[in-house]
């Protein structure tokens, strides 16, 4: 990759805007929403790579996110290790678990893999609620201390804003490099044709496992930051509603591109905020189910009019304009 390809201009501008935002605004509401976008976005981007680019339709991402949150939270709250060690221990735990679960499950394809990983999501949600002495049960884990590292304690929203966006942009950068390398080509190759990919010398089962574990660990890291930001976790946060939300982000943003799911995270998170703000008089009890109605309609509309999601639509616009202006330029 050339330098221009390694650091595309739109990305640099985006990163600059992200860094500049807390310097120009003092709205803690805005900062708070942006933290959620960063964390959900990081999970959705990894899930998009796994589901859409590697073609492995796994529904376990809310689980990895939740286990990362719980592992870090438990380690920090029970004083097993400093909070920042909890983040690393959570990642290691999720890596180990996703390895031992992925090794047998990744033999399944398509709908069957989705089914099996969905079962995992339900099982973990129940376990988190039932293992009261360890997880705090239905009430959740309370009194999680703030994240601290090398004598610095992350206390304000602004601190977490930078941690969350650092993680999100780091995830994007890592996956961008990865997808433009030997590794990424191998992943796209086996999603197109496993037979051809293995005949080119790609160890397909191993690469499936690699990308499964990698995106699980990325979700786990986001979950750990999430728990330190909220200082609280609950089993229901990591269940079916979050799964629907992540899938909606991927579909609306467009999972065939790396930035699509992050775009989706922006749209969905702000849409939910808008729904809650403008419809709270009409619908006094705004629950995840009410959100789901709006997201459902949005998914249908997007699938009909922009099958590639917003990102697919953007790149199509680019192609069309290049064709139009390219021809005009030559004439």
């Amino acid at each position: 990759m050339t330098l221009k390809e390694r650091f595309p201009l739109p990305w640099i501008l985006f990163a600059a805007a992200i860094i500049a935002l807390p310097l120009v605004t003092s709205s803690s509401y805005l900062i708070g929403v942006m933290i959620f976008i960063a964390l959900y976005g990081a999970v959705a981007v990894g899930m998009g790579v796994l589901n859409e680019q590697a073609g492995l339709f796994s529904l376990a991402h809310p689980t990895w996110f939740g286990l990362g949150a719980y592992a870090a939270g438990i380690v920090a709250t029970r004083g097993i290790a400093p909070p920042w060690m909890g983040v690393i221990m959570g990642a290691l735990f999720v890596a180990l678990l996703s390895y031992s679960i992925g090794a047998p499950l990744l033999r399944l394809r398509g709908f069957y893999l989705a089914n099996a990983t969905f079962a995992l999501l339900l099982i973990v949600e129940i376990l988190l609620a039932q293992l009261g002495p360890i997880t705090g049960g239905h009430e959740g884990l309370l009194g999680i201390p703030p994240l601290s590292f090398a004598g610095f304690t992350f206390e304000t929203d602004r601190h977490y804003y930078f941690v969350a966006w650092g993680l999100c942009l780091g995830t994007l950068w890592f996956l961008y490099n990865l997808m433009n390398s030997r590794f990424g080509r191998a992943i796209k190759a086996f999603s197109d044709s496993e037979v051809a990919a293995s005949s080119m010398g790609i160890n397909v089962p191993r690469y499936k496992l690699y990308v499964f574990i990698l995106t699980a660990v990325m979700a786990s890291l986001a979950g750990s930051i999430f728990c330190f930001y909220l200082r609280f976790t609950q089993p229901g946060v990591f269940g079916f509603p979050l799964l629907v939300e992540l899938i909606t982000m991927i579909i609306i943003g467009g999972g065939k591109t790396l930035y699509g799911p992050l775009l989706g995270a922006f749209v969905i998170t702000w849409l939910r905020e808008a729904i809650h703000m403008y419809l709270k008089d009409l619908l006094p009890r705004m629950t995840a189910e009410v959100d789901a109605i709006f997201f459902g309609i949005l998914i249908i509309v997007i699938l009909i009019f922009m099958p590639g999601g917003l990102a697919g639509w953007v790149s199509q616009l680019g192609r069309v304009s290049r064709r139009v202006f390219g021809k005009a330029g030559r004439a």
Binding site: L178, R182, R185, A186, S198, M200
Partner: protein
Amino acid sequence: MAKPVGPDLILQASGVRKYFGGIHALEDVAFSVKAGAILSMIGPNGAGKTTFINVVSGIYAPDAGEIRFQGQDIAGLPAHLVAARGIGRTFQLEELFGSLSVLENVMVGCHTRMRAGMFAAGFSLPSMRREDRQMREEAMQDLAMVGLDGRAHDAISQLPLGERKLVGIARALAMKPTLLMLDEPAGGLAAHEVDRLVRLLYTLLDNGLTLFIVEHNMPFVMSISEHIVVLDEGAKIAEGPPGEIRANEDVIKAYLGEEH
């Protein structure tokens, strides 16, 4: 390209058997491929030709038999290990990677010659970038070999069938194989494209490659092959130089049916 070891037989198949339930796709097939030569396998539809390629390349494990490549038994080895030993192949229906560009398809062929792991790639380490650049150049050379370097950055879907077949060959060449197995390379090609293919195959032969071709196009097979193996209903019914095969009673029967 690596010189084959031992005698000049690069591939030796003996007693190769593959059943799919009651269907005897391959029934004790035995023959050898001479290094640096072109050997073709012909036979009516459903004779087991593609199954044989799939068994050699490790897509299927044979139910019985031995397949020796450069003297070592590779029967039952998984496909990616067979590929790493130096057997490249193409596919009857191309099986190109639609989400990758033409050049990237060929670069997938470089996979076994590259080292970069997940972290080197993700953190974009200089060693990884150097390797990627070098392989990109080599892949361009492989594309130039088949005459498609001008279309390196096109999508696969933009290419006509004849050029897709050539991308399949370039992708296999990028593996720097010792033996190249081509599954119906001339299928669906126009006459001038077949001529181009023949010239390409002779160039590959001059470069030291051994070619194993499965084909339907008789004039093509007869003109290019030194040795032909004929398969019918999973069993070998004849073997020899083109002149002999053309006159063989069993072969004529298999292709035209029994006279009544």
